[in-house]
Amino acid sequence: MDINRVEARLRKLHENGEKGLFAFITAGDPDLETTFRLVLSMEKAGVDLVELGVPFSDPMADGPVIQRASLRSLAAGINLMRIMDLVRRLRSYTEIPLLLMTYYNPVLQYGLKRFAADAAEVGVDGVIVPDLPLEESASLLQELKEDEQHLIYLVAPTTTPERLEKISRAARGFIYCVSLTGVTGMREGISPDVKEFMQRVRRHCSLPLAVGFGISNPRQAALMAEGADAVIVGSALVSLVEQFQNQPEVIYERVPGLVKELKEAIS
């Protein structure tokens, strides 16, 4: 494949004048089979990209919903190796862009070289590492085959213009805009400053912008989509998985159901 799936999808969205919907779920919550089926059913329901969360014992950038998902996944014995296997299996069924969202330590212990090689081999398109800021990212970046696996950088409302410039120069694929100062999780409203924030990022970055954190319903998604190229929804989906963890058939109905509503809201 000559072009990264993330870039291909973003280009297509742009050509069609569409906004993207990116979905985050924790891999292995409550088991890998659920994750496997959810990725495929979310794709059918209109998701443009899936972020698979790698569980970590100490998820300092996450709110309670994803913390608990992470613990469920760890309790099920999930690790990076098994998530690589999951992606390999998924790749026989789908070409949807797949990113791993992981804290740095699981990657570091897996081995940076081995991580990059396995990610390329199984068909991972990139990685988001919330505790790896630009300044610490050189070692991982060195190992990734840049055109095949992107390291996706995050920017936040606190990011200064100087940092926006630096991050924008290093970034590939898209920029992950954290809509609020805080951890992941569902919020009632949306921050009144988000519009100004997205405009500020836009002035410094030419890449597509995806906005996430705190988006849980169609109304919020529609508002957020105004200033962005894609919106990212995580905790709201994970929360459904949690709520119905003992009724898989409800999960397979409700999660794609919410995805469909969200996609319609931003179309």
């Binding site: 300092m60 330590n105 570091l108 212990q109």
Partner: protein, 399 residues
Amino acid sequence: MELPDSRGHFGNFGGQFVPETLMPALEELTLAYDDAKNETVFQEELQYYLRDYVGRPTPLYFAERLTRHLGGAKVYLKREDLNHTGAHKINNTMGQIILARRMGKKRVVAETGAGQHGVATATAAAMFGLECAVYMGEEDIRRQELNVYRMRLLGATVVPVTSGSKTLKDAMNEAIRDWVTNVKNTYYLLGSVGGPHPYPMMVRDFQAVIGRETREQIFMAEGRLPRCLVACVGGGSNSMGLFYPFLDDAVELLGVEAAGRGLETGEHSATLNAGRAGVLHGALSYLLQDDHGQVLTAHSIAAGLDYPGVGPEHSYLKETGRAQYTTVTDQDALDAFQLLSRLEGIIPALESAHAVAAVLKMAPAMGKEDAIVVNLSGRGDKDVPAVARVLAQENGGVR
């Protein structure tokens, strides 16, 4: 070369592994600290509070009966237990709270294990009229009830942490989450030499007053350097503070980690002895973790040592061989706790009792002309109820 480098690296260790949201705050803090450090006004204000409020300098006390009992090296105790609030933690807290005020912050948050750092932070916040929230694991709240009550008396909000192991590591996660959320008006007052740059450097500098005083005092007492410095290592601040001014001297440095129920049981906090390099709470350092990089739950009878990480400069000192790190079990610490109480009339913190226990093992084998300085990082009042419970279970009470 002066360490850390400008990005907070001690060789391969240290750094800033935090969410982007916090990077600007760390840059701001680094600049503010660099400014303050070189400013006479700041240093004089800190000196003033350390002297008139904290009660420094603390004595370097020759433990004559303990020395006689051991029959080897002379044992000196650096009496950090005599500081206001009863531990070394306040040296750092005073420095950081003055900095927080200079930066215009109105609210401070902190994590605490034993509650000593929480109490020190609540104290300093009360004195300067700042709002204060302290995150503390539920398990530690149970073990350290006295300190919880002290913090509440001092006007701080103690937030119980119920995630994970319900100890210091999880309290730190929650403190960081609070900081990420409230970074605009909140100062994160980290209690040890861990975390992202500039904390390991800054906390070390504030604690280095311990080592600077010790240097002068041991020269007064002995006319020369001690053979060895001994201190317990949780996050590593009291040890780093004692060691730092001696790094370039021919003095042995010994850090003492908690072996808990024994290294072989897996229930311990011996990060440098049994861990390997990994990233937790913003820094690359030794870490207790499984094969997949999941952080393990630590154990120690001393809540302040019950942490699976350690400050990055210690990892560097270990790797370069400049410092040695040994371990002491819960049981040996309990014995030392009682022995020091009986022989010297000093009830040490269980954390500090680990350092004393290491000295009990090594002093007899040394010559009478050798001097050991052990950092008595805190007093043991906070531990008395827990120790009473353990001893009652074991052998029907104090021996």
